[in-house]
């Protein structure tokens, strides 16, 4: 029994570390994804990254680098979409999302290992993650988090009011570009570890939950990261030891569990605040 547990634990170690690293960096960025109202942008970027990784898998050419290259291209196109006035920006994002998803599937279909690669793009290779890919993810996470922690105030300012920052001489456009590059780089590598579905879940679900509960941005960032890590750990443990279910979708499902409770909490808190305000008036 103990021997079996030890063997399973050894198998679980790398996926757990991979899941936790992805959770930390993606959930942190997720707060900005939600606050900046770019959830659909991140969905489109996730698919663009998936298409790049799929191209790399088909051509057997550095999938992470091709994923980042395609994301870099998309990030450079984003300002043009934001300036577009003839049609809503989200219509172009929808077009990018669909085209990138289709291309990802087409590229995967060309690959000799079609089924395995399709599974890798959608669900990642969390269970079979290699130490090399894990190291790649760790380096990217360290780079991205260092940038975000060092320039936390600047990133928050240009997210909230870029013109005000620029009026005081802050390089708002450059910081904005670096923000999107950090997001693109994270998605490109995290997709290979965790897959498109889980990366998008990490980017959205813990952030929405945290922002419903927390009254300060720092606490929202911390709670989002903690939620992502706890959900990843619990879901991976259950998928390994108790449930015969795929780990990626199980983590995504776990990440969504606290959301309705957080929503209820926020509704009740607002109702109580309203009651208190009315009492104070009467």
């Amino acid at each position: 029994m103990t021997e079996s547990f030890n063997t399973t634990w050894q198998l679980l170690q790398l996926p757990l570390v991979g899941g936790l690293i992805c959770a930390v960096v993606c959930c942190y960025l997720g707060i900005y994804v939600v606050l900046r109202r770019i959830v659909f942008v991140s969905a489109a970027l996730t698919q663009v990254g998936a298409a790049g990784v799929a191209l790399g898998l088909w051509l057997e050419l550095a999938p992470s680098i091709l994923g980042f290259a395609t994301l870099l291209l998309a990030v450079l196109v984003l300002p043009l979409i934001r300036q577009e006035r003839r049609l809503p920006g989200e219509s172009f994002l929808g077009a990018i999302y669909v085209a990138a998803s289709a291309l990802a599937l087409i590229f995967v279909a060309q690959s000799p290992a079609e089924e395995a690669h399709l599974h890798q793009i959608l669900f990642g290779e969390l269970l079979t993650v290699t130490p090399v890919l894990l190291a790649e993810m760790a380096v990217v996470a360290a780079l991205v988090l260092s940038f975000h922690i060092l320039f936390f105030k600047e990133i928050l300012l240009i997210s909230f009011d870029p013109d005000f920052g620029a009026s005081l001489g802050l390089k708002s456009q450059l910081i904005d570009l670096l923000f999107y590059l950090s997001l693109g780089l994270t998605i490109a590598v995290a997709i290979r570890v965790a897959g498109a579905l889980l990366v998008f879940s990490y980017l959205v679900l813990p952030a929405v939950t945290s922002l419903l509960i927390c009254r300060r941005i720092i606490s929202a960032l911390i709670l989002a990261v903690v939620l992502g890590m706890v959900c990843s750990g619990v879901a991976l443990y259950l998928s390994f030891y108790h449930l015969n279910l795929p780990s990626g979708p199980l983590i995504a499902a776990f990440c969504s569990v606290p959301l309705p409770f957080a929503f209820l909490w926020a509704v009740l808190r607002e109702a109580r605040a309203g009651r208190e305000a009315r009492t104070a008036l009467s």
Partner: protein, 256 residues
Amino acid sequence: MTEGSGQPFIEFQDVTLGYGSQIVLRNVNLTVGQGDFLGIVGPNGSGKTTLLKAVLGLAKPLSGTVRIRSPVRFGYVPQREILDEIYPLTVLDVVMMSRVPVRGLGKSLTDADRQSALWALDQVGLADLSDKLYRHLSGGQKQRTLLARALAAEPNVLILDEPTNGLDLASEGEIMALLRDLHSRQGATIIFVTHLLNLVLNSATRLALLHDGTVTVGTVHQIASPDSLKKAYGLEATVRELNGYRFVVAKSDRKF
């Protein structure tokens, strides 16, 4: 054109502004000097925000020269509607933002920055609300928070974009009284953009009237004249005075 008093902070020489092939304002000549209170007025869509963006360096001129005296620091108060209220930020968080570019890239904010922010909040009468969430404030309180944020930057020039839009009379009066006080008692240089001419008639020292792609700059007396107003707004209007306060009355209003 009347020159602003003192050495100019801002100087526009034959500036043409626009977007791509669309020209919004042409041959703009304008200076803003120490102690000026310049009201930028004009009908909706006349290019007020475009002119403001050019002053702030957010829009490059298509031609001509924009000279901003160095070092000059702007205290920009945007229209509060453009700021997203989903951010979980306290009033103090918002005001402290102005210290970020002042302190320098990647540098930590200090207790001195906090004190500057608290001083600015005190100036606008919001010291008691520093820990309250920005999104929970009333419109007038939000506007005063943004004014405090601009003041905390220790600016040479305060630039306000339609700061009284959507405010009730009391809040509008508070903002205008605060600005008049900053100008008259502390010598602040102010650029105030509004589509409501009456709002700046009794505060501004000079007016820039925008209409049909042109900018006419002059004293309040020169600009708020029946001829200028007819040209800009296409209405017969007169300037009246009551208890020392000037206001414009459009003729079409008289029958009501």
